[in-house]
Symmetry: C2
Subunit: 344 residues, 2 copies
Amino acid sequence: MSVTIYDIAREANVGIGTVSRVLNNSANVTTETRERVITVARKLNYQPHAFAQALARKRSNTLSAIIPFFTNYFFIEVLQGVQETLSTLGYDLIIHGANNQQQVGEYLQRSMRKGRVDGTLLFSLELPENFVAEFAQKKVPLVLVDTFHPQFDSIRVDNAGGATIATEHLLSLGHRNIGMINANLQSAPARERLASFRQTLQQAGVTIPEGNIVNSDEQKNDGFSRESGFRGMMEFLGRGLPVPTAFFVSSDIQAIGVLAALRERNIRVPEDVAIVSFDDVELAKNFDLTTMRQPMFKMGELAVKKMIERIEHPDAPVSSVSFKPGLVIRASCGANKQYVFHEQ
Amino acid sequence: MSVTIYDIAREANVGIGTVSRVLNNSANVTTETRERVITVARKLNYQPHAFAQALARKRSNTLSAIIPFFTNYFFIEVLQGVQETLSTLGYDLIIHGANNQQQVGEYLQRSMRKGRVDGTLLFSLELPENFVAEFAQKKVPLVLVDTFHPQFDSIRVDNAGGATIATEHLLSLGHRNIGMINANLQSAPARERLASFRQTLQQAGVTIPEGNIVNSDEQKNDGFSRESGFRGMMEFLGRGLPVPTAFFVSSDIQAIGVLAALRERNIRVPEDVAIVSFDDVELAKNFDLTTMRQPMFKMGELAVKKMIERIEHPDAPVSSVSFKPGLVIRASCGANKQYVFHEQ
DNA sequence: CTGAAAGCGCTAACAT
DNA sequence: ATGTTAGCGCTTTCAG
């Protein structure tokens, strides 16, 4: 059927071993024969058979990524970083979208149990405990992105640090009555962002009514959604409390909903209320949101690099790095009231 | 190392052939031995080695998808359909993000590299001509999604039909001065949507000033972006023409920009201007956009089904199906002025 | 019905 | 330096 190293060997009058050697750039081949083989290979339009290689090498050069099925911009951008990096390394990426914890298990099983992939990246999903012991013992290359487990490599966002910066920014702008529209507390990022928000206010000696904080109770996407932001702000407004002069919102996507709610009530941003959110997804700049930027693309790159290192050094100590988000100032916080639409 | 069919065979006192047979549900095995083998396999926690299977079967059970790197909601939703369907079929999906035409070629080459994948899905990108002859002759399983080539299967959106419905809807609402904010005409969908818009008006005997039509000249994403919509509307407003009572916008994402521009000029939607756009991406409902819904998830499903059929019947005639978008009426067209935020 | 054996295409250890 | 050979783990004839 298709051309194999046997065809090349015959045509070039060498053994298949030699062919394999030149194809793998291994030493000990005369430049003369090397060139002959290469010429023939090119002439025959030879393409190595990936699976045969994988089988013989016991290495597949492909990774898998398990991501939440309800994908949002965060994953997309991180994935782009992953994909780009992988592709320069000659690796392939298999994607698995998980709907629930059980599926995570299935995919983990499917990916790892056997030669299928060299390693897997788990995104924003909890690692099921029943895999921990086995994976740790077998030293399965697993890196967690935006999630954590002490026994595996992970890459995280410093939610606490980010929330602190956001809150301090609002404080520095003179705001003293601040509110927070948060996602569902069942998600760790939501908990961490809230805790730091509280702590930062407290350290600044600022007290706010407990009613200024609205936590989402939505299940979908853990409340990191536009609807959730809209409802959260509406709920706050329904409480009849004095409207704070500023809000910290736990994600850009929610902030967009918050903006809609505010507009409906004719409350202007940033004149009446300043907004700072979190993530800096693609959309954020279009809404002129001041937000905490997470270097998503970079996180993807780093995830891959860690993975490669892990594959090459299975016994290296596990490491966890967290990215500290940076403040991106746009119009929504009022620090810069100019409407800047076309920012790069 | 890990458990193979040899281990099972030994343990169950049968030959590896028999083990393989029961594992593949092939006939001609006594229920007795079958059960014995299954028991042992389970006990040993056996997992088939995908690559070895692929090598022996000459079939990998994995597909690849080449998508534009600047991914938007459209792809994400289609991909979810692809992924979900594939996963129920036991297939894996390899993702390649292409930045340019040349990369499409590289990935095409890499994917098709013998046996790597059983077929590839090409999304919204033109199939490089230099692959056509070879792929067609070798009957490489290739299905095009949201793009087209006469020699390969494809799944498309009926842009013409959709634009017609959108325009007729506006007409039926009584609008006679209508405008269009379009994407970059270098993209086929933009051209098709514009042509049908024109034709529908003409057939209805409605004439509009040429200046009512604004085509984007942006490169990024072919002008299917929020910025592009914003600028398009601003440009129109700068022309000094009477403002139409309705606009057809070539995508939801642009419509969001259009909305922003209109708001800035204090032009109300839908009271002053009605808007109908195209796509019905996730965000559309949050902006209460009346739009033409493309069944993206379904398109993904169908793409996979077509692919499987193509793999099984390499000689079947090529087919191309186009999905006719359906009108989703929300608040932005004024047909239903009620603010509906929480629609499912 | 089932065991044995021949590949699938490639790598790597072993000869020469 | 290069040819030969033994697998990698599984499927699939081919005998029996």
